[in-house]
């Protein structure tokens, strides 16, 4: 609600003014931010370059418009889901018109993987009175086989002279996926190259609805806490059309390959808590904990902490440590035992649905030029250690000779800058 307009006008009249120079937090004008992330997995796996650009316009009225552009270029190889084998393995490419062969004992990687993504977003924040802010967002992203569009709205209300903020938001996203070669039938056999294939749906879709409620409280002059609860419901085609599973015999060797299949709904709940504290009148320490669980059986915990050390008037260093632990989805299988694909409705060997621990260690250096323009660089190392899960008991001995959960390491380098006005 707006401050009593007649009182406001009376106070301005007292000062001999006719209208307010409205209280606005941000300096009016344009601000531009740019950043580029280089992501590189070890052993020639995924390499990505992701430039991002953002332009923000603030107005005297407190209104602001922010527009972002993200480009994402990926190359390299990613696991196709099949298990290693003692002999070379040949896989048909998704189009059905080609194949690639993996050496004995190696984790099968699909190196036909290549993608460019373009994402755009725009959001408008409007103050409603002195204490409420409504933010509406539109976003879209496009890849050669994927189109995603969405919209959201968040209302935030300040209390206690902005010492307390409560917000509530809803996002709706609609995705259309046109997989190369169509969307395969879940758990159907991967045909050999050139083999006639069952008809497939050329286009599939999914809908995601997110709801979140957030509470931020200033605890003292130097500390604040944020709590966020969120709920996310996905409906539609949630599988990865390019992921496979090995169907193995008792010796652990593959008999054939089947396409993965996931449930067509997913309900996620997450709780996030963050505590930020200013230290020595100079530095800032942040620690956060996130808990997520879903009806696929995945439960994850994340602990993340950063310490911003402002060692000079215009320089800072920020070490970063993150630990992530996840349990596997109920339908996660490292491989299927012969015939099992006909008895179950859902299975996936996607490592992202497996059980693993991940650690990120990073360091950021930031500098503000004499002219007041900040730039920064950040280097991070990521290590993912799989924990064995989803191994069929009948083939456990046969599969034991393979590394089913190879360690994944990646290096992330980011650099960014901001200029404005």
């Amino acid at each position: 609600m707006q401050l009593n307009p007649s009182l406001n006008a009376a106070a301005l009249a007292l000062l001999g003014l006719s209208q307010a120079s409205a209280a606005a937090d941000a300096v009016p004008g344009w601000t531009f931010e740019g950043a580029t992330l280089i992501y590189s997995e070890a052993d020639g796996r995924v390499q990505a370059a992701e430039p991002r650009f953002r332009a923000t316009r603030n107005w005297d009225s407190g209104r602001s418009l922010s527009m972002g552009l993200t480009l994402d270029a990926l190359t390299g190889a990613s696991p196709n889901g099949a298990a290693p084998a003692s002999t070379p393995q040949t896989f048909t490419t998704p189009s059905g018109n080609g194949s690639y062969t993996i050496a004995a004992g190696e984790t099968p990687l699909d190196d036909t993987f290549r993608d460019t993504r373009v994402a755009l977003d725009a959001s408008l924040s409007t103050p409603l009175g002195r204490r409420n802010t409504l933010t509406t967002t539109l976003f879209a992203s496009n890849e050669y086989d994927y189109l995603s569009i969405g919209a959201g709205a968040t209302i935030a209300r300040d209390f206690n002279l902005r010492n307390t903020t409560v917000s509530f938001g809803v996002n709706v996203e609609q995705d259309r996926i046109e997989p190369v070669g169509g969307a395969p039938q879940p758990l159907s056999r991967m045909p050999a190259e050139g083999e006639p294939r069952a008809s497939r749906e050329a286009s599939v879709s999914k809908t995601v609805i997110d709801v979140l409620a957030s509470f931020t409280q200033v605890l003292s002059p130097v500390s604040l806490v944020t709590l966020t609860a969120s709920l996310s419901k996905s409906d539609g085609y949630l599988s990865d059309p390019y992921k496979l599973l090995s169907v193995v015999g008792a010796d652990g060797e593959p008999l054939r390959y089947v396409y993965e299949g996931r449930p067509d709904t997913r309900l996620k709940q997450a709780l996030y808590g963050e505590y930020k504290r200013f230290v020595y009148d100079r530095d800032a320490w942040t620690i956060s904990l996130r808990l997520m669980s879903d009806d696929w059986g995945v439960f994850s915990q994340t602990v993340d902490t950063t310490y911003r050390w402002n060692f000079g008037a215009r320089d800072h260093l920020e070490p970063h440590l993150r630990y992530y632990r996840q349990s596997e989805a109920d339908f996660y299988r490292a491989a299927l035992f012969d015939g099992e694909e006909n008895q179950i409705g859902e299975a996936s060997a996607d490592p992202r649905l497996g059980a693993f621990d991940a650690i990120t260690v990073g360091l950021k250096y930031g500098h503000t030029t004499r002219g007041g323009l900040p730039w920064w660089v950040r280097l991070e190392g990521y290590t993912q250690l799989g924990r064995s899960a989803g191994v069929p008991a009948e083939a456990a001995d046969g599969l034991a000779k393979f590394d089913l959960e190879p360690e994944l390491t990646a290096v992330l380098f980011t650099t960014g800058f901001r200029f404005g006005r």
Partner: protein
């Protein structure tokens, strides 16, 4: 008096309107900071002198000793009177420019000294804006009535000083007169000014706009087990029970912020409800 601040910039401090006053100036130029400080000090002293009810050489004295005659006022005083009249209506007569005489009855020193009804009634007979004739230029009051700008003068001085400083130089400044404050914009590095509220952990982040606090943390009395703050309800002549100890309000101007915090205190236990009805951005120390 000019002093350097640890976080950069200067503070200029002086005493005026019975309060410690300071102006924070975020610049590296000591001469400029001293000049701006002097502008603020001169304005605070001018306002104090012009509308003090303790002097015998100003317009307020002339009005209060007119003995029923109409007094013509200057344009600036007319604006202050108009503002007081607006607050009278907004507060439904709880706030009244003519209620200053009631204050002589009361001592808010933490004791239980209560004033009996006859004494209050006798003074209340000399209070009431509805009995004043005000045409926007000339003010005419009954003999024995007095006018008092004490409730709005300090906040007005904050707003006026800030306007003068903003016109004099394009550097970020914060004006703080006895806890009522206003800022012209964020500090040079973009961070907000950090302002503490008396007796509380709450920290205000102020970039632009104003904040005023009204309270009775020290100036109160107790009667029949209830706590009464130092603001008097002009309708009854009595202080108001069960008000919060302090109310801080943020608003575009210090005058509006101060009015809301004072009027809220006059609503006693209903202070928060009043602030909500006004769309105020506030913090309450219960």
């Amino acid at each position: 008096m000019l002093s350097r601040l640890d976080e950069g910039g200067y503070a200029f401090r002086f005493q005026a309107m019975a309060s410690p006053c300071e102006v924070l100036i975020d610049c590296d130029d000591a001469a400029l900071a001293a000049r701006l400080g002097a502008i603020a000090q001169a304005e605070a002293r001018r306002i104090e002198t012009k509308w003090s009810r303790y002097r015998s050489d100003n317009l307020v004295h002339a009005i209060n000793t007119a003995d029923g005659a109409a007094i013509e006022v200057d344009e600036e005083t007319a604006r202050l009177i108009d503002y007081g009249a607006h607050l009278y209506r907004l507060s439904e007569a709880r706030f009244d420019l003519t209620s200053g005489v009631l204050r002589r009855l009361w001592r808010f020193d933490g004791t239980e000294r209560w004033v009996d009804a006859d004494a209050v009634a006798a003074v209340l007979a000399r209070v009431g804006w509805q009995r004043v004739r005000w045409d926007g230029r000339r003010l005419q009051m009954e003999p024995q009535m007095e006018i008092d700008f004490g409730g709005i003068g300090k906040e007005y001085a904050v707003d006026r000083s800030l306007a003068l400083l903003a016109a004099a130089a394009a550097v970020p400044v914060l004006v703080n007169y006895g806890g009522d404050l206003a800022a012209s914009g964020a500090r040079r590095d973009g961070r907000p000014w950090q302002v503490g509220i008396l007796d509380s952990d709450v920290r205000i982040q102020l970039r632009q706009g104003a904040v005023a606090t009204s309270g009775s943390a020290y100036r109160y009395l107790t009667h029949a087990g209830r706590r009464y703050g130092h603001l008097l309800d002009a309708r009854s002549g009595y202080p108001v029970a069960d008000a919060p100890r302090a109310i801080t309000v943020a608003a575009p101007t210090c005058s509006a912020a101060g009015a809301l915090s004072s009027l809220a205190l006059l609503h006693g236990a209903d202070a928060c409800r009043f602030l909500e009805s006004q769309g105020a951005d506030y913090h309450v120390l219960p």
